[in-house]
């Protein structure tokens, strides 16, 4: 039996084609709609125009695209012999604003997708307006971001050599108080656990103390066998030098090195999204992957018991909010303002170069590749995290999310498993 279902409100839409056999899902094809042509739009443009054009790939992770594109330029300059040494101030500000975007994303996903969808699936509706909470925190955290980046969405404040802003300690204090407010929200609304105590957890034993909205999600998931569903291949990959870890891949209990040059994109029949693999194998990317590669104690402990199940995947993303808040607070505390914001001149006399930029975006590793000839972009490639998680796989293997949905009894359950990957349709159909 085949069932076609449109999934809405996931940064655009996706169509899932389910095949049922003996009352269970046997196969799922994931299809995305309209191709918007950002990679083609970039061709022939001034190389730095990518800093303005690529954020427009996505309304929710635009800042990650900006940072991937600036890193691609800087990498290209370096490949052509220009030394790029950005100040630790500029680096920390970039890290801070990226962390803010991730917090914004994860909070919206938790309150606008996971909580309402879970309640709907289990018919446990509380009637609460969760979007109000999402909007409260995301408006605070993007305000902190905008103090440095000017605005969110669609800032272009990162330029080769650093950042355009020149903040004062008054600005830093304003951002600090917004981070404190966000931490207070995490303590009092999301977990009902003092922040320091939350961060100190390193094993499953203390999880029952988590209350608040996260506690409710964990309780509902636990009561409904969600620690025993949604398994994928238990293979993870990280390419960005991110806040908590270096690049690497995690399989079974081993973490090993990766090289971005082995990443391969392939066309998919019937979908405008390209698939992507690493040495012919599929990998899961995102917060769970980052935690597995970094051997984050609490997530490792959860994973030891529940593997890459639905509950582990959901937990890792919410948990990352805490790690990001702690990280951003430290970044601001240690920010030294008397370093230069930007160490390169406006005009760089380079007309030919190739560069790769990698960033850990909300949904996982984001890769930009630029090649420039005669002062213009000749080719630009964008590989987004969703391509890793939501491809339809290859001849050997089904895709990561498809695999996780297989075995589900209903399309509603499968839809929830699908959404737990934090699906972004617009990124996938650049």
């Amino acid at each position: 039996m085949k069932i076609k279902q449109l999934i809405e409100k996931i940064e655009g839409e996706a169509e899932l084609d389910f095949t049922f056999k003996n009352g269970k899902i046997e196969d799922v094809q994931i299809n995305f709609g309209f191709y918007r042509g950002i990679e083609d739009i970039l061709v022939g443009k001034d190389p730095r125009d990518a800093l303005v054009i690529t954020p427009r790939v996505c309304g929710i992770c635009n800042h990650a695209h900006l940072l991937a594109s600036v890193r691609a330029l800087e990498n290209g300059y370096e490949n052509s012999g220009i030394k790029v040494k950005i100040s630790s101030k500029a680096n920390d500000i970039r890290e801070f604003t990226l962390a803010c975007e991730l917090i914004q994303n994860h909070t919206k996903w938790f309150y606008m997708t996971i909580l309402p969808q879970l309640e709907k699936l289990l018919k446990e509706q509380s009637g609460e307006n969760y979007a109000l909470k999402a909007s409260y925190l995301s408006s605070k955290i993007t305000k902190a971001l905008a103090i440095f980046a000017g605005q969110w969405p669609h800032s272009s404040y990162a330029v080769p050599g650093g950042v355009t802003c020149d903040p004062t300690y008054v600005d830093v204090m304003q951002a600090q108080s917004l981070i404190d407010e966000s931490i207070r929200f995490f303590e009092q609304i999301i977990t009902k656990v003092p922040f320091e105590e939350y961060l100190a957890q390193d094993s499953l034993n203390s999880l029952h103390e988590i209350g608040g909205d996260f506690g409710r999600v964990l309780y509902l998931m636990g009561m409904n066998n969600m620690a025993q569903m949604g398994y994928s291949y238990d293979r993870f990959i990280v390419f960005g030098t991110c806040m908590f870890s270096q690049p690497g891949k995690s399989m079974a209990t081993t973490v090993s090195n990766v090289d971005v040059s082995y990443v391969e994109e392939t066309l998919q029949k019937g979908s405008v999204a390209k698939a992507v693999n690493y040495k012919q194998k599929l990998y899961e990317v995102g917060p769970l992957a980052r935690a597995m590669v970094a051997k984050e104690p609490l997530i490792k402990s959860l994973h030891k018991r529940y593997k890459d199940s639905l509950i582990t995947r959901v937990f890792a993303r919410v948990h990352e909010i805490a790690l990001l808040l702690d990280y951003s607070k430290n970044l601001l505390n240690n920010l030294v303002l008397d370093e230069p914001s930007c160490t390169l001149p406006n005009e760089i006399p380079l007309t030919e170069f190739e560069g790769v930029g990698v960033v850990e975006a909300a949904r996982g590793s984001l890769i930009h590749k630029t090649s420039v000839k005669e002062g213009k972009i000749e080719n630009y490639e964008i590989i987004v995290p969703t391509q890793w998680n939501l491809s339809n796989g290859n001849v050997q293997e089904k895709g990561i999310a498809s695999k996780a949905m297989i075995g589900s009894l209903t399309t509603h359950e499968a839809e929830f498993i699908f959404k737990a990957f934090d699906v972004c349709s617009v990124c996938t159909t650049q």
Partner: protein, 295 residues
Amino acid sequence: MKKPKLLWLQSITCNGNTHSFLNHPELFSILSHFELLYHPVLETAHSLEDLNAKRLTCDILILEGSFKKNGVKKLGIEVLDVVEYYAKEAKHIITAGTCATFGGMFKTYDPENISGFCYDEEEQTSRYEMYASKLISLPGCPIHPKWLSYVLMMLVYDKKIPLDTMHRPQELYNITVHTGCSRNEYFEWKVDTKGFGLKEGCLFYEQGCQGPYTRGSCNKILWNDVSSKTIVGTPCFGCTEPTFPKTALFSTKTNMGIPAKMPLGVPRRAYLTATGIAKSFKIKRFEERIITYED
């Protein structure tokens, strides 16, 4: 009083306008004045399938994204077909963002076939005549959440919204991004910035800032309630204009050392005269750093 019915529809978009609006600190107070029929990410009573069935009626239609006649389908139905149905129904149409208004970023992929709803850059589309009487243009990439919210509230309270020739509210678009910029003194005295990453100096002369000839209130009603591109030293890219996006956005095009494009409405002769006078003085304060952190 019956709440006006609000419908938010998307075509070819990045969702940036949706997320910009979600940042509004008073989002739900604003929305409490409306019955929200459909929204791209907020929970609503209706689904895309309900919309496609064309049985709903709406009072205010918000459009996001650029439009293509054929080939942009949701559930097998052309988006433009559904949009036009509700556009005929609606009392007001708001094109939210530059894509929906003029075509914007996504138009550049297929300029022949992709445009805004009523404008194709500066030209009126064939739909213009039909909808002009109820059209409000709110360009910006993305839309500023407060500009949209204040226009929505003006509709609720039945306030007069004076529009310019391209249907943009004059209160928001009859000033330039330059208005209120924290670097205005440097512009007045023609002191350019020494490079990116400095709070001193104007970005109009070398860094490509389009603020002086771009319509919008970015430096009057700040972004995320706190800042703007030019405040943090990023040039204005003219994202509210029908010509967005231009190319070579980080450098100023010049003629004989003078910016090729003049501030809005300023004759070149007037600009050159004022510049000549300003530049004949060297003012110490504008050559110095505002803050020094050394002991």
